[in-house]
Amino acid sequence: MGSSGKGESQEVVRFENVGMRYGTGPEVLRDISLDLPAGSFHFLTGPSGAGKTTLLRLIYLADRPTRGLISLFGEDVSRLKRRNLADLRRRIGVVFQDFRLLGHLSAFDNVALPLRVAGVAEARVKKNVTELLDWVGLADKLNARPVTLSGGQQQRVAIARAVIARPQLLLADEPTGNVDDTMALRLLRLFEELNRFGTTLILATHNEALATQRRYRRLHLVNGELTSETVRRA
């Protein structure tokens, strides 16, 4: 397998027989069991409606499962206090499929959000955000509002926001969907760089070429069930 193989002594994400349904509807995820070791890199693939976004929402604690057990960083999330859940969320970065940039804030302020939420000093915020936006090729768009940016530029801002606080777990929902191949490769390299420094990555994508280009572990969802390469370590 093509995982980075670094620091896999502890599961960052652990699902045990997790099921999820919205309201009284059918289960959108069924009996999901998986272990994602620290420092691993996974592609999350599957057709539209297979449950990829729901799975990611459970991992970044936007939803609670209907059944089953979820542990993050070795902690059973159902037992954690609210205050500790906030701490846990700060260790997770998310690139949303629809970016979810705040339209009234500049690109700089959007990227600065996770640092400000964590109470980082403004001097450090300024330095880190400026550097990262420069790295993703948006040095001249610091004060631009999202509405004035192209889809690709917005996506890069969203990615910069997800990684600015150096999360231990990064979830990306179609992060290369709106960029050209060159930029897609460049962003993938950014993710690999983060992974090399220990960040666990789950990258949901439709891009088969991207998923096959790199031989990372793959979580493949079909109709809410994991079907391949999701070996649960016994």
């Binding site: 970044y60 604690l61 936007a62 939803d63 609670r64 609210r82 205050r83 906030a86 701490d87 846990l88 969320r89 700060r90 260790r91 997770i92 998310v94 979810r100 705040l102 009234h104 804030l105 500049s106 700089f108 302020d109 959000l113 996770p114 400000r116 939420v117 964590a118 403004e122 915020v125 300024k126 955000v129 400026t130 610091l142 004060n143 509002r145």
Partner: protein, 300 residues
Amino acid sequence: MIGRRTGNDIPLRRDGSVRLLPWLIAPMVYLAALALAGMLALHGVLAGWDRGLAGTMTVELPAARDAAGGDAAVAKILALLRTTPGVTSATPLDRAAEGKLLEPWLGTAVTPDELQLPRLIDLRIASGTRLDLGALRARLAATLPGTVLDDHRRWLDRLYGLALSVEATGLAVVAMVGLAAVLTVVFTTRAGLAVHHDVIELLHLMGARDLYIARQFEREAMRLGFSGGIAGLALAALTLWGLGHAAAATGVLGEEAKLLPDLSLVIWQWAALALLPVAAGVAAMLTARLTVMRALARMP
């Protein structure tokens, strides 16, 4: 400029429902200020009456058949009163003064003596003295049957009762206005939470603590509550000034016809009214915080 924040994380200032808050708070503070001003003025008037009547009593002698008999009776009672411990002065009301009081109704054709009116003695008691009124009344009756000692207590007690009712009504008005203001902030905050749900969820997912999000609402609620309060207070001050001015213009509060006591406010009472916008701001802030914290507690 790089790094300069372009705004709050939650764009509350663009939210129409939140912008409406000062317009709702202003009339509430206006009503509360008027109610409070009325209570404070009444309190001042009562204190003035109490001070004015403290240590004063009136002795009323039964009407005599003629002036000489009346003068003799007054002299007898005066002798008794002036030897009573605690009494600093006992002054009979001048007959000419009595005649002047009756003049508007009876004219100058008749005198008090002709009408056989009771004679009155103004009594002053040393401050801090607790006079045995029962004993004094008994001695007065023994000296001259029919003599009455009036310590004004019954009249003052009735006034106090009336004033207390008015004050209680004023307090109820202030409390109801306060409750209405709190509910307004609750609904406005809930509207803000609904409008900005996506932003709030995003901050929540980034690990923002509930207080971080609540502070953005409470800062805005305090600013809007305070500005609405200032507007309401300014309007109330204008109204009070106008009322005082109108009353003075009719001479009701003027020196020449003091039928009503002075209802104007003193400095500390104005200072108390000036606290209303601060109270409105703080109440709005705390209400917004509690509302947001309760709503966030329901998030996963």
